[in-house]
Amino acid sequence: MSQLSNTAILLIGLQNDHFGPNCALRSSIESPERIDLVKSNILSFIQSLLETDVSIVNLPILFREGHPEITQEIGILAAIKQNGLFVEGTTGGCVIEELLPLENEMMTLPGRTGFNTFVDTQLNEYLTENNIRQILLAGASTAVCIDSTARSGYELGFDVVVLKDCTISRTPAEQDMYCQSIFPIYASVTNSGEWLQSHGIKSTTGSTEHA
């Protein structure tokens, strides 16, 4: 079956420190149950895509022990360093266990130590070599890595689609604001079920919209 070979889904930060059972994120965002909803929506979406030619690209953020890559003294990267998150070889830095059986289906592009998944990875080269024009964004978090990647993708000329039920923000209000008034400046915003339907792909399971 050959369809949508010009499309890739970018899995951004699908690691235990974001989406694991006892992750640090859970205690620091509003309505943490949204983490499970978003994770389950992403996993269902990926299951549906396995029947298509959509490329699945896994883009973890990883630091060496002690975070020598982070020189910033303020902001989220400084907080990540302080809290010892996303370290290579730790459980927190690992891809979530639900994705482990799919490792052969995914292209993992390592190297990222900041917000933007195009920086220090081979992402642009990979997409260009594979004639991919459309990128679907899923993962964490909306105001940080999703937004930075979407802006960069737009600048590089990709058709950027943000999946609103497959991205997580710090608060539901922030998610609404981004999806209603920031992302539309440079991207399409849709939910995973609508996207599948509009491309004639059968959904394996339903997606659940969070509040």
Binding site: G13, H18, A24, L25, S28, I29, I61, T71, Q72, E73, I74, G75, I76, L77, A78, A79, I80, Q82, N83, L85, F86, G114, F115, N116, V119, A140, S141, A143, V144, C145, D147, S148, R151, S152, Y154, E155, G157, D159, I168, R170, E174, M177, S181, I182, P184, I185, Y186, A187, S188
Partner: protein
């Protein structure tokens, strides 16, 4: 801590199409009188900065004829394309006339054809050569060029400072939200008065490095 020796003031989008009262873009901004106030405040900052050894970069945004860069014709970008704004060679894309007398105190670095002032301008190369570490951002508009440029600067390792009273959001709520909860993810948000105080005393530090502890915006360690 770094003093103003390592500092650059980045002026983003100081062009007629953003700041002229007659710009067709005015209708995309709530209470356009804010734009005029911010313009005057930025000029005031420039008049002080020009007496210091701070590097001032003027970074206009310019689109190619026909705006091929704008694929998505929604909102502010649709207005920009519809009215041929920020198009190379037009008067609207020109730097605001009030900046004229100050041009000799600043370096104009054109080339930016998107939101991010680091793309195709040589800005990073210039700042690296001069060992600039701290960047102060002013201009328009908050959710587009200010945010894209600030994110990029943070990732490049600069210490980013955003002037909350010298940047313009499309709405007042958008401006507040960015200054309270988005910009603190990667920058220090200050008022122009703090910059003016630092400019009055070259050895004064603009902002501390304790934002992680004090910023209520950083509630989550999500990346």
């Amino acid at each position: 801590m770094k003093t103003l020796k390592h500092t650059a003031l980045l002026l983003i989008g100081m062009q007629n199409d953003y700041f002229s009262k007659r710009s067709p873009l005015a209708k995309d901004f709530e209470d356009p009188s804010r734009i005029q106030k911010i313009k005057r405040r930025i000029l005031w900052i420039i008049s002080h900065a020009s007496r210091s050894n701070i590097f001032i970069a003027n970074l206009p945004i310019l689109f190619q004829t026909g705006h091929p860069e704008i694929a998505r014709e929604l909102g502010i970008l649709a207005s920009i394309k519809k009215h041929n704004l920020f198009q190379k060679g037009t008067s609207g894309s020109g730097v605001i006339p009030e900046l004229g007398p100050w041009q000799k105190y600043m370096t104009t670095m054109p080339g930016q054809t998107g939101f991010n002032a680091f793309v195709d301008t040589g800005l990073h190369e210039h700042l690296s050569r001069t060992r600039t570490r701290q960047l102060v951002l002013a201009g328009s508009s908050t959710a587009t060029c200010i945010d894209s440029t600030a994110r990029s600067a943070y990732e490049l390792g600069y210490e980013v400072i955003i002037l909350d009273d010298c940047t313009v959001g499309r709405t007042i709520d958008e401006q507040d939200l960015y200054c309270q909860s988005i910009f603190p993810l990667y920058s220090t948000v200050i008022n122009s008065k703090i910059l003016l105080a630092a400019l009055a005393n070259e050895n004064q530090v603009i902002a501390g490095h304790d934002m992680v502890k004090h910023s209520p915006g950083i509630t989550a360690i999500a990346c």
